[in-house]
Amino acid sequence: MRDVAVIGVGQSEFGKFPWKSAAAMGAEAVKAALGDCGIPPRAIQVAYCARQYDANCTSQQILKEVGVRNIEMINVENACAGGSTAFRGVWKEIADGRYDVGIAMGVESMTTSPIAGKLISPEKDDLEGHIGMTMPAMFGMVARRQMEAGATLEDFARVSVKNHHNGCLNPQAQYKREFTVEEVLNSRMICDPITLLMCCPNTDGAAAAILCSMDVARRYTTQPIRVLGSALCSADYKYAQEDICASPVGVKVAKAAYEMAGVDPKDIDLVEMHDAFASEEILRYEDLLLCKPGEGIEFLRSGATAIGGRVPVNPSGGLLALGHPLSASGVRTVCEVVLHLRGQAGARQTPNAKVGLAQMLGGLVTNLEHGAVAGIHILAR
């Protein structure tokens, strides 16, 4: 297996743009990634694009806008981990020696999707969905269990306060506004105890990353960022999930990624992860082995995951403030980690970052663990 580097990253504007097509947003991200490394578009040999809603041939639709055609293009869907899946797809192609240069893309137009402004509606035969199971209800029930274990409403609010603060330092964030713990707690209740400001917003946007072999990387950059570990896995049946706060598949994927990367969790300098709900971020500290099991709340309270802490989590603002175009987020988290490893993350820079981790988890499937797929990439300079 060959070493693979990320040489170019790009993100479109994130926000609510119902008038923008997915192809237009994707092209915005791809142009940014091409400009970031200066590689000519026709050097790209393979493309993967993740998208959950509408339109077919998303890769083709995007890449024709930048002059790329006539190459292998693959379109994928894997819930919130779609972007991680696209990134991993390109990584595999290059690591296996099939191609030397590829592009991973993720794009979503949430405001024009069938779920714009409402809860995701259940499939016809999804009994639990019809009798009231939704993502916020699930995370509401999970949050109640977290509170049994000592978490407080203020802890959940503090995650949102932290990530909104980080968003203020990121010019590309959808929301650049500070909130207080009280404001988060007093925002509209969605699913008790989850309030509006504890939920990620509806976001339109795209992200792209250009990967290549180390030989090619040296031609375009003096700062190639290496992909040390890549892992992706789907969940087990739900009956096996005794504690709904834990994500068995999340832990499994984390261990696989650390082992492949040859990296200890304590060596991770920053993390970008799936904080679709503020309460969820605390659980993922434990899944990612950033702290000991059961110590996620203490880890948050210690300030370890704030910018300037031991391991900043979601310095970009995360899904909560930067925004969450579902399939784009898995690529976007990688882009953010790359910027920190290059020392280009501006006011939110993690000092002297050497190793970073990008995680995504998502999908609600009847009879499976909630979080039906998890993907993790570990990158280093």
Binding site: L119, A137, G140, M141, C191, Y239, I244
Partner: protein, 134 residues
Amino acid sequence: MSEDAVPVKEGLFDETGGGRLLAGKCKACGRIFFPKAPFCFECLEKDMEEVVLSRRGKLYSYSIGRMASTHFPPPYAVGLVDLPEGVRVFAPLMSTVDLTYRIGMEMEVYIDELWKDDGKRVMGYKFKPVKGGD
């Protein structure tokens, strides 16, 4: 069940003794699934038998929805109830006046109208707190 009523899904429950949940038990390994599984998810055995679940269990967790779901106007309560057979059931909870639920509460299943569809009452299972329970 009265003539204007239809079950939300066939074979999941009946109204005997205030309401009972009908689960599937694997004849090979004994694992019980509710709702019934088409085969045993544990050992892949296809031979499953119907078993009746206990009517009472403990509330594992809950949430109060404050935003309309597909069929329920807010506020509505949903929860997970652990039954003695080792089965965790997701179900709507009774809309009590103050919606004060507590993890660990003793709950009991009952059959109620979930919503109306085309003039028919769609019936399903819900859980309510046991009066005087712990």
